[in-house]
Amino acid sequence: MAMLLSEKQIAQLKRRVRETPHPREMVLDVLHAIQDANGWVSDEGIELAAIILGLSPLQVEEIATFYDKIYRRPVGRKVIHICDSICCWSRGSETLMLRLQQLLGIAAGETTTDGMFTLLPTCCLGACADAPAVRIGKTLYGKVAPEQLETILDGERTEVKS
């Protein structure tokens, strides 16, 4: 379990939890730390988070499974979230989803064979003013046109290589 995070990281997180009046405030921070280090959060990751937070695994899992940006299954190096909520949908997110599926050769929910991208719909990215929005990794793209997607994907690939 210790391999999911370094001893030092665990000690740091535990200290921050101790300093927080309500440990539950720290659930997402701990989960993100584990996800950043491993790409996703495994069952062992949930159990480790529970130990760090002094909560039961269930209490951590309740939060981990509520948010779709916490990945409870292995994902590609970068996750593409396409917003399908009302603003983005009315501005053409369905076309973006189809175009991305074509470009990547995968269906929604799948990961490319090279392990580069996972394609997921999401219900909101908080970028309604910039609809339609797409998030790749931690970069948010607003007012995305279908023809921009290829360039965006190329950019994201090179960024990983460099």
């Binding site: 069952d43 949930i46 909560l55 039961s56 695994p57 269930l58 209490q59 899992e61 309740e62 499974t65 509520f66 779709d68 219900c123």
Partner: protein, 798 residues
């Protein structure tokens, strides 16, 4: 107090009452799923919609989320509302499987009722339904997530009300999943309540699975017999088999819920080893033969040795009717050797507890509403589990909970903890009895003093004691302390956890009668030749088993009337099978002095499942029902005294004979019961405390009750038996180091009752110098009985 009009009827309700509850007062049932009186409103299911025509809000609103206000005019059944509800039900049904024919909830399913009532008979949705993998949730609960309608009642019950942390809600939106992190038994000792609160068949009783349709069950209001709290339950039986127990509402005691020991402890009634026939010298005979043989033997002994040679014993398991008639029969026999509890220290502690002013006595409802509870020598989860749940509700409302106890105490809520050994209790209680004073002679007295000040400052203070650790003297001291911490307008109430469901009744009837110690001496000296035990097990319950075995062996005659195969039954010369609580009627007085009657659920008989060995019922014909010979103990006593077994007449007699039981004949089994009006006399003399000296190489032995395995009847229930832990002993880390002991390893515990090999547990949250063992029936720990003075013991590696 807002006044509003609902369906053309005017109603005035307390401020803060929601419209759904206000309608209920008028007898108008607004359909709902997620609202629950004990859990509150969340407005999740959208079913309780009503139309507001006039007043501060207008249009369709959720009645559970809308507080009643002056001037509201509400229509609960307008065409628009009905259409709205039908729509909601249709949404809920889009994902609900059509598996009612194989679902255990069928017949008591709120979803079924609401779907039919809502007029939604034909499904228009033809798409695929959402499905889930179910989890194994342990021995009590079956999980069938496909049936879920997302009302959140289970999570609100399990986490909010009961304080469980291992069952919750996962995912979001259409992917909601109510379950655990991974398969495994639910950890909360109140998990069984999920069965009652789930409005559909997601969480059902595993022990009752596929046994009956609910409309085939025989049910009646009853009382749980597995501790002294007297929680209201509804048992269900079919084919002469007790098949389940559900919680029944009593706002003064358990509220809506019960513990798992109460819910799943029912198996004792169906136990295959239950003795069902009268026996004389272990030979099966008819009732007439057995009664005649016993009476002629009694007469013979009476003539030879006088009426004082006959001893009578009942227990806290016996009903008030049985206890009363035992007393009557003792008088008829001319014997004063009558006792209501085989454990002298527990007996006198109960007598002290029953002697306090009853307006000072706290009900579980008082516990839920207190703002400070100080518990001395009490482990609620083990000794009276629903008290733990009541304390949690108090804490959720902001109450401070303080526990002073030598044991590692666990509660489903955070509390303040003082690990104090039993021999410091007297100092602590002295301090507790002296609020607002400063000159304390010890730190323990000072702690007591500071708690006393807090009790004095609290608005609704409460002192709770476990009589096992306090003993008679401690119980008395706690009552004095409560008096000292009381003010006229805000009394400090007390609650004591007693031995069994009718300890209080026995205590009231015993007055200044002898304790079982004096009967023991009588037997040992040969003065007492016969002992008659009514639902009492002196061999298992008297703290010194060697002594009780030797004393019983000296008797010329031992007659036992019981419903379980106890240790004493094995030794009996005459045995008479009695009915269980569910098979008869009677009255039990709980630990706060509340008389509660219960009705008969079904008639005793060998369950068909057993007599037919799981196959077709026997094909031969007789007039008798197999195994139907058990009779109520009070019925047998009536017959022995040549009286008719008329319950109403008996209750009127009890009432007339002893004004403390006033109102008994008027009690309804489905009501809230009735407090005893007048306390009993304080016992004139209490058995002395005999503290054994503990050597430097010894530990103090502390035997305690535990959730599963200590209480006799529930320990016979098959589904609870698998939860009884392997025999263990718990010591403080200091002592583990001192005696070079390791966690999980076998150790030898040398006790006055013999040497026992046990598994070691090390626990930091307890006092050093003590070895704690649970009472576990049917294991090597069986001879160790809680509620005794502390004894010395040795501990060493094996």
């Amino acid at each position: 107090m807002p006044t509003l009009i609902i369906d053309n009827q005017t109603v005035t309700v307390p401020e803060g009452t929601n419209v759904l509850e206000a309608a209920k007062r008028l007898g108008i049932e607004i359909p709902h799923f997620c609202y629950h009186e004990a859990l509150g409103s969340v407005g999740a299911c959208r079913l309780c919609a009503v139309e507001f025509r006039e007043g501060p809000v207008k249009g369709i609103q959720m009645s559970c989320m809308t507080p009643a206000k002056d001037g509201m005019v509400v229509d609960t059944g307008s065409a628009e509302v009905l259409a709205y509800r039908a729509q909601v039900i249709e949404w809920l049904m889009t994902n609900h499987p059509h598996d009612c024919p194989v679902c255990d909830e069928g017949g008591e399913c709120q979803l079924q009722d609401m779907t039919v009532a809502g007029g939604h008979g034909i499904r228009r949705y033809t798409g695929p339904k959402r499905t889930y993998q179910n989890q194994n949730l342990g021995p009590f609960i079956v999980h069938e997530m496909n049936r879920c309608i997302q009302c959140y009642r289970c999570v609100r019950t399990y986490q909010d009300y009961c304080g469980g942390t291992d069952f919750g809600v996962l995912g979001s939106r259409q992917r909601l999943y109510f379950g655990r992190f991974s398969d495994g038994p639910l950890e909360s000792p109140f998990a069984g309540n999920l069965v009652d609160v789930c409005p559909t068949g997601v969480l059902t009783d595993k022990t009752y699975r596929f046994k009956s349709r609910v409309w085939d069950l025989q049910e009646a209001p009853s009382i749980c017999p597995h501790c002294s709290l007297g929680c209201a339950v509804t048992p269900g039986a079919r084919y002469r088999q007790l098949q389940r127990r559900r919680a029944r509402l009593n706002n003064q005691t358990n509220g809506h819920f019960i513990c798992d020991r109460g819910r799943f402890g029912y198996g004792y009634a169906n136990h295959p080893d239950r003795p069902r026939y009268p026996l004389v010298g272990h030979r099966r005979v008819t009732w007439q033969e057995a009664l005649a043989a016993m009476q002629s033997k009694l007469q013979e002994l009476g003539e030879l040795f006088g009426s004082g040679s006959i001893g009578l014993l009942t227990s806290s398991r016996a009903t008030l009717e049985t206890q009363f008639l035992t007393k009557r029969w003792a008088a008829a026999l001319g014997s004063d050797q009558l006792c209501f509890e085989a454990h002298p220290r527990r007996d006198f502690a109960s007598r002290v507890a029953a002697s306090q002013q009853l307006d000072r006595s706290a009900s579980l409802e008082d516990v839920r509403n207190c703002d400070l509870a100080v518990l001395i020598g009490a482990d609620p989860l083990s000794e009276a589990p629903m008290l733990a749940l009541a304390l949690r509700q108090a804490a959720r409302r902001g109450a401070r909970i303080v526990i002073v106890d030598p044991r590692p105490v666990v509660l489903p809520v955070a509390f303040e903890r003082h690990a104090v050994s039993v021999d410091k209790f007297s100092q602590l209680l002295r301090g507790l009895g002296r609020p607002q004073q400063g000159d304390f002679s010890s730190s323990m007295e000072e702690l007591g003093g500071s708690l006393a000040n807090a009790l004095l400052a609290a608005q609704r203070p409460l002192l709770i004691g476990g009589t096992d650790l306090l003993g008679p003297q401690g119980t008395q001291a706690l009552q004095h302390a409560a008096k000292a911490c009381s003010q006229p307008e805000k009394p400090c109430r007390t609650m004591f956890m007693l031995t069994g469901p009718n300890s209080f009744g026995g205590a009231l009837l015993s007055a200044n009668g002898p304790g079982f110690d004096s009967l023991m001496e009588g037997m040992e000296q040969g003065r007492i030749k016969a002992l008659l035990c009514f639902e009492a097990d002196p061999l298992a319950d008297y703290p010194d088993r060697k002594r009780s075995r030797a004393a019983l062996a000296r008797l010329d005659m031992l007659a036992v009337f019981d419903c379980a195969a106890t240790a004493t039954v094995q030794e009996s010369d005459f045995f008479f099978p009695t009915t269980t609580v569910e098979e008869s009627v009677g009255t039990l007085i709980n630990n706060e002095g509340r008389m509660q009657t219960f009705e008969q659920v079904f008639s005793a008989g060998t369950p068909l499942a057993e007599s037919a060995s799981g196959s077709h019922p026997p094909r031969f014909f007789t007039r008798d029902i197999p195994g139907s010979e058990p009779q109520s103990a009070w019925g047998i006593l009536s017959a022995l005294m040549g009286r008719s077994a008329d319950l109403d007449a008996l209750r009127r007699e009890i009432e007339k004979n002893d004004h403390r039981f006033a109102g008994l004949s008027q009690l309804k089994a489905n009501g809230e019961g009735r407090r005893i009006a007048i306390p009993s006399q304080h016992p004139e003399s209490l058995p002395l405390n005999i503290a054994s000296s503990i050597g430097s190489d010894q530990l103090q032995l502390l035997v305690t009750e535990t959730l599963y395995g200590s209480e006799l009847l529930s320990s016979l229930s098959p589904c609870l038996q698998e939860l009884i832990p392997a025999p263990f002993v718990t010591v403080h880390p200091q002592d583990a180091t001192r005696f070079k002991l390791e966690e999980g390893k076998k150790v030898l515990l040398g006790t006055p009752m013999g040497d026992l090999t046990l598994t070691l547990r090390i626990e930091g949250d307890m006092v050093p110098g003590v070895a704690i063992v649970p009472r576990l029936r049917g294991t090597v720990l069986e001879p160790l009985v809680p509620g005794t003075e502390s004894l010395p013991c040795r501990i060493e590696k094996v």
